[in-house]
């Protein structure tokens, strides 16, 4: 090779040839795409409560099941204060006659539409005295591929929406940690001397703090405001980043080209911008990739304790907490969000590991 490939280019070439990296990235993109687009395709809103279908197990079947319609109609008729007669049920629609001792008010048909079982009803015929009303209502066919939760909300939709929250928060907090850590570490490493010693002493002190307990207090302090919570998490997670960047900056600082730039009259800000930060990016990217799963885990942990995301909004931690409470009766409520979380975390960790190896040619 006549010209050395720049480190990132070489790294990407190595990464593309690594089956573990490619497959974990594919899994991640799939999860991200599913979370982004999926909720639009499931046909359910994440906060829509189907009162007729709490704790429905996962299945391909469409609900309602034929046998359940008759009794359900009887219950509805009772609430409409009519008798349901001549009921005929096809998979698509029901026909029935509403009979009463007084004329039947058509407004009671709203009961049919408001239940989760039927669509808006249509009047077919009305007896002259108005006491008998023949109506037809389409059966509303619903699928809950991964079941529903305790309130009857579609679990697949909720898990995907939760994934949006968890992934977005993971990226947001990592970005905050990245910004803070790189700026702090680069400045400390470049300036060196007493400034560096003082800045790193602060990092050492913060390092010794009982970390999780501070995050919990920050969450309480910010009153469960989502964005602020993750600003807080990012603000706590930047310490490792600062240490890594400082080490890199100190090494880069001694390189000949930096000394040359200095001799040519470049000031410290210019050296930071042109030389230190771009050259320290490799290890930083690798570390950031491994920080994302840590933050997602932390968010789930907080939400699990009831300190994170609040109803009706949801995250994987919230869903896992709900599932853990319902584990005896409805194990899928735990299994579904836990599977999404674990798959995402494994893929993120694997990808981060491979990225780190690829960016560090000494390891390869």
């Amino acid at each position: 090779m006549t010209t050395a490939a720049t480190p990132p280019a070489g790294a990407f070439a190595r990464l593309r040839r690594d089956p573990a990296a490619v497959s974990s990235l594919a899994v991640l993109l799939l999860v991200a795409l599913a979370c982004l687009v999926g909720p639009l395709l499931t046909g359910h809103a994440y906060d829509r409560i189907y009162y007729d279908y709490p704790r429905t197990p996962p299945s391909w079947r469409a609900y309602p099941e034929p046998g359940t319609l008759g009794p359900a109609l009887d219950r509805l008729a009772l609430r409409m204060r009519v008798r349901a007669e001549d009921v005929s049920v096809t998979p698509e629609a029901v026909r029935l006659t509403l009979a009463a001792d007084r004329p039947v008010d058509e407004r009671v048909l709203g009961f049919l539409a408001r239940s989760d079982l039927f669509g808006p009803a249509r009047v077919l015929a009305r007896s002259p005295d108005g006491r008998r009303l023949s109506v037809e209502a389409p059966v509303r066919r619903l699928r809950f591929l991964l079941g529903t939760d305790a309130l009857g909300r579609d679990l697949l939709t909720r898990t995907l929406v939760a994934g949006r929250v968890s992934l977005a928060l993971g990226l947001l907090a990592t970005a905050v940690a990245l910004g803070l850590g790189v700026a702090y570490g680069a400045v400390a490493g470049t300036l060196g001397g007493a400034v560096d010693a003082a800045m790193m002493r602060v990092v050492d002190i913060l390092y010794a703090l009982p970390f999780v307990f501070f995050v919990i207090m920050l969450v309480v302090f910010f009153g469960r405001h989502l964005g602020l919570i993750f600003l807080a998490v990012g603000a706590v997670e930047w310490l490792d980043m600062a240490r890594i960047v400082r080490g890199e900056a100190m090494a880069i600082r001694r390189r000949d080209y930096v000394l040359a730039a200095e001799a040519l009259g470049a000031g410290t800000p210019a050296i930071l911008r042109r030389h230190v930060v771009p050259n320290a990016l490799g290890p930083v990217i690798a570390f950031a990739a491994l920080l994302v799963p840590r933050v997602i885990l932390l968010e789930s942990f907080l939400s699990f304790l009831g300190l994170g995301v609040q109803e009706p909004m949801t995250s994987w931690g919230v869903l896992i907490a709900d599932g853990a409470r319902a584990i005896e009766s409805s194990a899928w409520m735990l299994a579904v969000p836990a599977a999404f979380l674990v798959v995402t975390l494994v893929a993120l960790n694997l990808f981060g590991d491979r990225l780190r190896d690829a960016l560090d040619p000494r390891e390869a």
Binding site: A208, F214, I216, M217, G223, L305, L341, L345
Partner: protein, 307 residues
């Protein structure tokens, strides 16, 4: 040795001061108060309560009072648990958390070193791959997923073990929490041990031992001694991980430990309980890091010389 310990203890003072100050103002300035109920108290009753607990004073005055009391070793009364002081509460919770943490640490060390050693001995074999896969899973599957799964399997399906509660430290109630707590640490320690053993295999002293014709058992002992260093250095972070885990484990299994007290205290704005827990844990972390440094120095002569 003694000057080193003293210097480290002096260095711990600003850290502890920062811990106390930060947490005091964070929890005090958080919205809500310890006497917020579903139905608000009568203004007069609220006023009396606030005066009794000194909450009507300016925050800086309260801070000064808290620091003064803390120096005398007084953690104050609890706001949410009536008639008990924070010190009494922590004295109840500490044995629970310490038992769990110590058992989990012992289990993690024993199992982790054993698994890591096995994996290194059979490097590249099925056993090695199994241990490494287990390690990845142990690191990524969070405790709050593992715990309910264990409860289902051993508590409900098999009926071997209780699913929660403390019952005065009955060993049967300890099994599942300790396993949950130890699992991620087992994973890390196994990985560390394996890496250190493999790295140490090529070192000159090991070649010499083999050339001298010593039995494998003796060589293994020397190898483990070399591998002890990264494992011992990891004990600090491991303890931090156990602290974090204890919050989850104590919640899931309903154990009355310090982690539970902290979360409940933060939720109920029990100011003194939160502060007391943080101070206790801060001291614990500092002492533990010191012990780890001393142990590292005891194992590795190079560290002794540097210090």
């Amino acid at each position: 040795m003694i000057p080193f310990v003293l210097r480290r203890l002096v260095q711990a003072i600003p850290t502890l001061f920062l811990v106390v100050t930060l947490s005091f103002f964070l929890i005090r300035l958080a919205p809500g108060g310890p006497f917020d109920l579903e139905r608000p108290l009568a203004p007069a009753a609220m006023e009396t309560l606030r005066r009794v607990y000194g909450l009507d004073q300016p925050l800086v005055v309260q801070y000064g009072r808290y620091l003064a009391a803390l120096l005398r070793g007084d953690l104050g009364p609890s706001f949410s648990v009536r008639d008990l002081s924070v010190a009494e509460l922590l004295a109840r919770g500490l044995p629970v958390s310490m038992t769990l943490g110590a058992l989990a640490l012992v289990l993690a060390l024993g199992l982790g070193v054993a698994l890591g050693g096995l994996a290194a001995a059979r490097r590249g074999g099925i056993l090695d791959h199994a241990v490494m896969t287990l390690g990845t899973l142990g690191l990524t599957v969070p405790g709050f997923v593992v715990a309910p799964l264990l409860q289902i399997a051993f508590g409900l399906a098999l009926g071997w073990l209780p699913v929660g509660g403390w019952e005065g430290g009955d060993p049967r109630h300890l099994v599942l929490p300790v396993i949950t707590l130890a699992l991620p640490q087992v994973a890390v320690i196994a990985r560390l041990t394996r890496a250190a053993l493999i790295e140490g295999a090529g070192l000159p002293h090991r070649r010499t031992l083999r050339a001298l014709g010593l039995p494998p058992r003796v060589i293994a002992l020397h190898a483990l001694r070399g591998a002890a260093l990264p494992v011992v250095s990891y004990l600090g972070p491991a303890a931090a991980g156990l602290l974090t885990g204890s919050v989850v484990v104590e919640t899931v299994f309903g154990l009355p430990g310090v982690g539970r007290y902290f979360v409940d205290g933060a939720l109920n704005r029990d100011y003194t309980l939160v502060m007391g827990t943080v101070v206790l844990i801060g001291v614990f972390v500092i002492v533990l890091n010191l012990l780890v440094d001393l142990a590292t120095a005891a194992i590795d002569p190079r560290v002794r010389q540097a210090a």
